[in-house]
């Protein structure tokens, strides 16, 4: 297979995804197949071809004026928050 266990584990770690022991070989298999699929790109004749980041070339970023348009709506926005106290979002302690 194109990817080994260690790679799967380190990818899952980078992506912050928990994987059970049973899941590792399953993802190893499907991810390896996908990597093989995309390997087809190797043969493509791309010398001198610019990468295409946006589907509509020739457009430039619009800029907006420096004006405050928002008001404090934290109560509305925090209705969806799993854990909030004193308007702060709570997470397990972050060690600096």
């Amino acid at each position: 297979m194109s990817l080994n266990r260690d790679q799967i584990n380190s990818i899952a770690h980078l992506a912050r995804l928990s994987l059970t022991e049973a899941e590792i070989p399953v993802y190893q298999d499907s991810l390896s197949k996908i990597v093989d699929l995309v390997g087809q790109l190797d043969a493509a004749p791309t010398q001198g071809v610019e990468p295409m980041a946006h589907p509509l070339p020739g457009l430039a970023q619009r800029m907006r004026p420096d004006v405050v348009t928002e008001k404090d709506q934290h109560e509305l926005y925090q209705r969806n928050a799993p854990q909030v106290e004193a308007a702060l979002y709570l997470v397990p302690k972050v060690i600096e």
Partner: protein
């Protein structure tokens, strides 16, 4: 204590994060004001709600361009925003929008003045725009941290220097220069306590003559000029110890602990983050045409170096004096104002310029410092100070008395003439009056007079002091000197 002892060379590069003083955030219309209640300035975009998108603030771009022009850098006609991907609670999207391969500002330079009066050019590798993260708060919550996203999305200009500095002092000089510059340009308020001007130092050492750089450690988020110097010096000594002890310097991030005066490795720092940079597909390339850049160039204020050079040329000031007087735009303007007031309709003379320089950089600066005031909050404005200096140049008062008048002006808020009048401090310039005072003193001190005439020259000072005392300090010193010499000679 420099590492230049013992054959070691220090290499320092600085990364400065300057918060741009826009009213709204770089990618959202939320306010950027400091100190608001938690999460009151975080909208859907800042909170990274599903479905939201960034839109670029034109003022942030303008400010970045101003900086680029001020350091003589190439302003990129096309720059690209990239995503820097990592997980941290103060980073709501799980990525920071920054710039990677194509930053808005490319190579520039900044000159610094060293202690010995020489200049050194420090290279600026690049400067780019990015968004700030939020804050984690730990007090009052035993096992948890509280996340405040007010700061998330504030525009930052990250300024990266070449590793051109060779001592902590050079690093501080460069840092101060950048600090001055961003305030001149009015793009950043430079408030290090509030975190709007932050500095990371990349420090390494190598044997003098070595070609390659040593392994560097990054010291993060040092929030005062003093700490920068201490942190770098500590780190240099630490690295030298490690190497001389047979070890290797580890490439890592360290924090400076101001209480203990040492740097320490950041806890739970894992393997180096793989940021997986790629161009942000939600944003298009920023394109700036020469017309736009030219417009901004035309709005640049007189920059610190230009102002200092003008002072040296126009007023024959020393490089040092000129640098002190131009350390802020406001101070430079104040000084300019004082000189113009002194000179009136005419061109200022070098004496007038020097006098003004001494007072502004001397007594005034000391008073501002002591009372923790900015020049804009000075209790003596330029007009009043000029009023005082005029009375020195026209001999109404001596320089020494002027210091007392200055004190009174500072505490009373009155102008010089009012104080001189009310305290009767006018200098005595009437030759006759001075001669009389001298005669009196000579008559009262026959012993010293005899000693002086028999060769004890040092007693001249005694007589000066006595005459000054007798005249309440108001005798014009130059005249006193002349007349006393003549009379003592007999």
């Amino acid at each position: 204590m420099s590492a230049a002892n013992n054959g070691w060379e220090t290499v320092i590069g600085l990364e400065i994060h300057a918060q741009l003083q826009t009213k709204s955030k770089i990618f959202s219309g939320s306010a950027t004001a400091y100190g608001s209640s938690p999460n009151s300035q975080a909208n859907l975009v800042d909170l990274a709600y599903p479905g939201v998108l960034p839109v670029l603030n034109k003022e942030a771009v303008r400010m970045a361009v101003k900086f680029g022009l001020a350091v003589g850098a190439q302003v990129a006609p096309r720059s690209v925003f990239a995503r820097k991907n990592y997980f941290y609670p103060d980073l709501p999207k799980g990525y920071q929008i920054s710039q990677y391969e194509l930053p808005i500002v490319a190579k520039g330079t900044l000159d610094i003045l060293l202690d010995d009066g020489s200049r050194k050019t420090i290279g600026i590798t690049r400067a780019h725009l990015e968004e700030d993260a939020g804050k984690s708060l730990h007090e009052g919550l035993p096992k948890q941290s509280g996340i405040d996203l007010n700061r998330a999305g504030t525009p930052l200009l990250e300024i990266v220097s070449e590793p051109d500095m060779r001592s902590a002092k050079e690093a501080v000089a460069y840092l101060k220069k950048v600090h001055t510059l961003v305030r001149y340009l009015e793009i950043c308020d430079g408030n290090m306590q509030e975190g709007s001007f932050r500095c990371d130092a990349n420090v390494s050492v190598r044997r003098v003559g070595a070609e390659k750089f040593g392994t560097r450690a990054e010291i993060k988020n040092i929030n005062s000029f003093r700490f920068v110097e201490k942190a770098i010096n500590y780190e240099v000594a630490r690295q030298i110890d490690v190497i001389e002890g047979g070890g290797k310097v580890v490439q890592e991030t360290r924090l400076y602990d101001p209480d203990k005066g040492e740097t320490r490795s950041m806890r739970s720092k894992e393997e180096a983050n793989d940021y997986r940079y790629f161009p942000d597909p939600d944003l298009l390339p920023v394109e700036l045409d020469p017309g736009y850049i030219g417009e901004i160039k035309a709005t640049l204020p007189e920059l610190p170096d230009e102002k200092a050079a003008r002072f040296v040329l126009a007023y024959d000031l020393s490089q040092y004096d000129a640098t002190v007087l131009t350390s802020s735009k406001e101070l430079g303007a104040y000084y300019d104002d004082v000189v113009k007031q002194l000179a009136g309709d005419k061109l200022p003379s070098k004496e007038q310029a020097k006098l003004a320089a001494n007072w502004v950089a001397g007594s005034l600066a000391a008073a501002l410092n002591e009372h923790n005031l900015e020049i804009t909050e000075s209790r003596i404005d330029a007009k009043k100070l000029a009023g005082l200096l005029v009375r020195i140049t026209d001999n109404t008062i001596s320089g020494k008395i002027a210091k007392d008048v200055f004190e009174a002006m500072w505490s009373d808020g009155k102008d010089a003439d009012a104080i001189i009048e009310s305290k009767g401090l006018k200098q005595i310039t009437d030759t006759g009056a001075i001669e009389k005072a001298i005669d009196d003193v000579m008559a009262k001190n026959p012993g010293q007079l005899a000693d002086y005439r028999s060769g004890k020259d040092k007693l001249f000072g005694f007589f000066v002091g006595q005459v000054m005392k007798a005249t309440g300090g108001k005798a014009n010193p130059a005249q006193l000197n002349d007349l006393l010499k003549k009379k003592l000679a007999g």
